[in-house]
């Protein structure tokens, strides 16, 4: 019989090592898997982890894909630290995109350098407005934000669909559900011509840095952490629970809304029925994979983005099915959780007799 016994002390280095161990285990089992499938195992593995980074647009593709994941995860991680469970970032992202896209369409004929900053502000406000609903319901009626934020995702999707099928439909678009393509004044500038990477990436880096400062070195960051780790102590210290809930939901919603703006302005260039392949949900995984730590999230976002790109690459290069990408993500999370368990618990083998004594 095997038992898990909590460790007295957790080696500090293990906190950072366990994601690396998980990645190594994923690579190892990937090798075995490809070998069983009858591929020379190094080739698909190379295509999965390295090939997407090569070529003229490799790195920029990765950074572009990681941008929304990192931005959203940074916002969510602050809430998760404070036990505020906003899992509706997908909806906040959508409404941010709708606000920003709406502004771009309203000023469709006007060429002004103020349009882009305006869209950024509108995107953030849109996300905040959508997150304000769960914040209000939680602080006023003590409704679980877990449920309300999630359900609002589906409402947000319907809002977007209504707009692109109805009032915002491109008048010259053969009745296809798409808005007009945004003009240059409403398009996030690219960092290097010839690549698709836009201004969103530096914005994500700024968010990572700002979160690192706020969470590590400010009173409000301290309040957020204490509210999550020891709610009673936070109350004794006179920290306002209401304030922490509002603040973390506004940050989470604002950053999700900003990502929505970045994607429709920089990457897609118009509003269409599908503007996210589930960024708001994947970012939850990224947040935890990154240990709710800003720097960790930066790496987790890049790794998660790579797993999507790699999944496409093994389809193109090796003809492997799309599920390989999902399998790698699944293995990564499984091994991460496993190494977390082993980091916090010891495996103890107990003889059955002892076990009976212990339980009786």
């Amino acid at each position: 019989m095997i038992r898990l016994v909590p460790r007295q002390e957790v080696a500090p280095a293990m906190v950072y090592l366990s994601p690396v161990i998980a990645l190594a285990a994923t690579v190892l089992f990937g090798l075995i898997l490809f070998a069983i499938l009858g591929f020379p195992p190094l080739d698909p593995l190379f295509n999965f982890f390295v090939k997407p980074l090569l070529g003229p647009s490799g790195i920029t593709n990765l950074l572009l894909k990681a941008t929304p994941l990192i931005l959203i995860a940074i916002g969510l991680s602050m809430g998760f630290r404070a036990n505020v469970w906003n899992i509706g970032a997908e909806g906040q992202y959508t409404i941010g995109a709708v606000f920003a896209g709406g502004l771009a369409l309203a000023f469709y004929d006007i060429d002004t350098p103020l349009l882009l900053p305006g869209m950024i502000v509108f995107g953030i406000l849109g996300g905040m407005a959508w997150a304000a609903i769960p914040a209000f319901l939680r602080t006023r009626f003590n409704t679980s934000e877990l449920l309300t934020s999630l359900m609002l995702v589906y409402v947000a999707t319907q809002v977007l669909l209504y707009l692109v099928h109805g009032p915002w439909k491109d008048p010259d678009g053969f009745a296809f559900p798409e808005t007009r393509l945004f003009h240059d004044a409403a398009t996030l500038p690219r960092l290097w011509s010839g690549t698709r990477l836009n201004l969103g990436w530096p914005l994500a880096l700024i968010a990572v840095f700002a979160a690192w400062i706020v969470m590590g070195r400010s009173l409000i960051g301290f309040q957020i952490r204490v509210s999550g780790a020891a709610p009673t102590a936070a109350r004794f210290a006179g920290f306002s629970e209401r304030r922490v809930i509002w603040l973390t939901l506004m940050i989470g919603g604002g950053l999700a809304g900003l990502s929505g703006m970045i994607e429709v302005s920089g990457t897609i260039g118009q509003l269409v029925p599908i503007i996210s392949p589930g960024y708001g949900f994947t970012a939850i995984i990224v947040a935890f994979l990154g240990r709710l730590n800003p720097i960790g999230i930066l790496f987790a976002g890049l790794l998660m983005a790579l797993s999507f790109l790699g999944g496409e690459m093994v389809q193109i290069e090796n003809g492997l099915p799309r599920s390989v990408g999902g399998l790698f993500q699944g293995m990564l999370l499984f091994f991460l959780l496993a190494s977390d368990v082993l980091m916090n618990y010891r495996i103890v083998r107990v003889r059955t007799k002892h076990a009976q004594v212990a339980t009786s």
């Binding site: 209504y162 599908i274 392949p277």
Partner: protein, 357 residues
């Protein structure tokens, strides 16, 4: 140490470089799919078309596909990666890939692109689609003869002209043989989601429909119809294996001949940007074998409709056609123009509810 590095480098090049080297003179054909290859509907048929290319040209070509590509921000990257990795012709097989295809095509003037169901073309971008509505006219007439409740359930993906056209062609044919019959539509806003498709079928059956037809890609609605003892039509591919007792027939998309012809044009160097809208006459649309549950007289009627469409004697949108409010859209003796067909954004008489827009 230096030598060791040299050996390692040589090995790496040998392992990874070899594959590239001997793929050089083959024509590389790439496909971007919106669903999984085993959806047994839309994407499955495009993949059958891809296999037709391989069967025709063998070692002369190399084909690649990327499946389940979201129509959002990912599409452009996938198309771009195919272009960068040396593909000569790339088929993007869903309407949502239109603008990403056009964007990538601008940066890769030497790569040929083929976009299905869109309307934007360029010097190196062709568009192609099937006149699926011709098949809808056949199944509409069958439904009109076979329904007892006079309510037909229709599961739609997105309210875009292509899908609306199918609903209207179906309804016109339905009411031509059975003026009492009406169509109830459920929109799902997805091309492929077996769970939602099954739920939609259940809802429609609960509302009195006794025949289900669909413009989504999974066989789930057929299976629900079979469980409930109702009839249904398959989508894009012969779906009889999934629900033999419910399946009446399917509209089959046959992309193979078109794909073979376009790849041949690339090999011969005669490829040009074109707009193709093929129907039953060129075999791009066909009907699956009619089930034994279709009575002989109805089968004869369906085959007659097929023959008339192929001969050009029957148009699915021949007047008189009224919209839901009873306004005449097409007068008796006239047929709708392709322009009107391509931009269709209204329901004809006989469809219940209002079109979401």
């Amino acid at each position: 140490m230096k030598e060791l590095l040299g050996v390692v480098a040589a090995a790496v090049i040998a392992v990874f470089g070899a594959a590239d080297a001997f793929a050089q003179d083959k024509v590389k054909v790439g496909f971007v799919y919106v669903g999984p290859v085993d959806d047994f509907g839309w994407t499955f048929r495009h993949d059958e078309g891809r296999k037709a290319i391989e069967a025709e040209f063998g070692d002369q070509v190399e084909t690649t596909f990327v499946e389940s590509v979201s129509e959002g921000p990912d599409a452009e990257r996938v198309i771009r990666q195919l272009a960068e990795s040396g593909h000569d012709i790339i088929f993007t097989t869903s309407f949502g890939f239109m603008n990403p295809t056009i964007k990538v095509a601008k940066d890769f003037p030497n790569v040929k692109f083929e976009h299905a169901t869109g309307f934007k073309r360029a010097d190196n971008v062709s568009t192609y689609s099937g006149r699926f509505y011709e098949g809808r006219a056949v199944i509409g007439a069958i439904a009109g003869k076979m329904t007892e409740s006079n309510i037909i359930g229709y599961i739609g993906a997105f309210p875009i002209p292509e899908v609306v056209r199918g609903i209207n062609a179906f309804t016109i044919a339905l009411r031509k043989v059975n003026p009492e019959a009406e169509v109830k539509v459920v929109w799902l806003n997805t091309w492929f989601n077996p769970g939602q498709e099954a739920d939609a079928a259940k809802t429609l059956l609960d509302q009195g429909a006794d025949i289900i037809t669909q413009h989504t890609d999974s066989p789930a609605p057929l299976q629900v119809a079979a469980e409930r003892g109702a009839f249904a039509f398959g989508q894009a591919s012969d779906n009889s294996q999934f629900a033999p007792e419910a399946h009446l027939t399917s509209i089959i998309d046959d992309w193979g001949p078109y794909y073979v012809e376009r790849v041949r044009a690339v090999i011969d160097g005669t490829w040009e940007s074109e707009d193709t809208w093929g129907g039953m006459d060129v075999g791009m649309i066909a009907m699956a074998p009619y089930a034994s549950t279709v009575p002989d007289d109805i089968r004869a009627m369906a085959e007659e409709i097929e023959a008339q469409i192929i001969a050009g004697d029957l148009h699915a949108f021949a007047g008189p056609i009224n919209d839901q409010a009873g306004n005449e859209i097409v007068a008796a003796g006239e047929v709708m123009s392709d322009e009107q067909l391509l931009t269709m954004d209204f329901y004809v008489e006989g469809v219940q509810g209002s079109l979401p827009n």
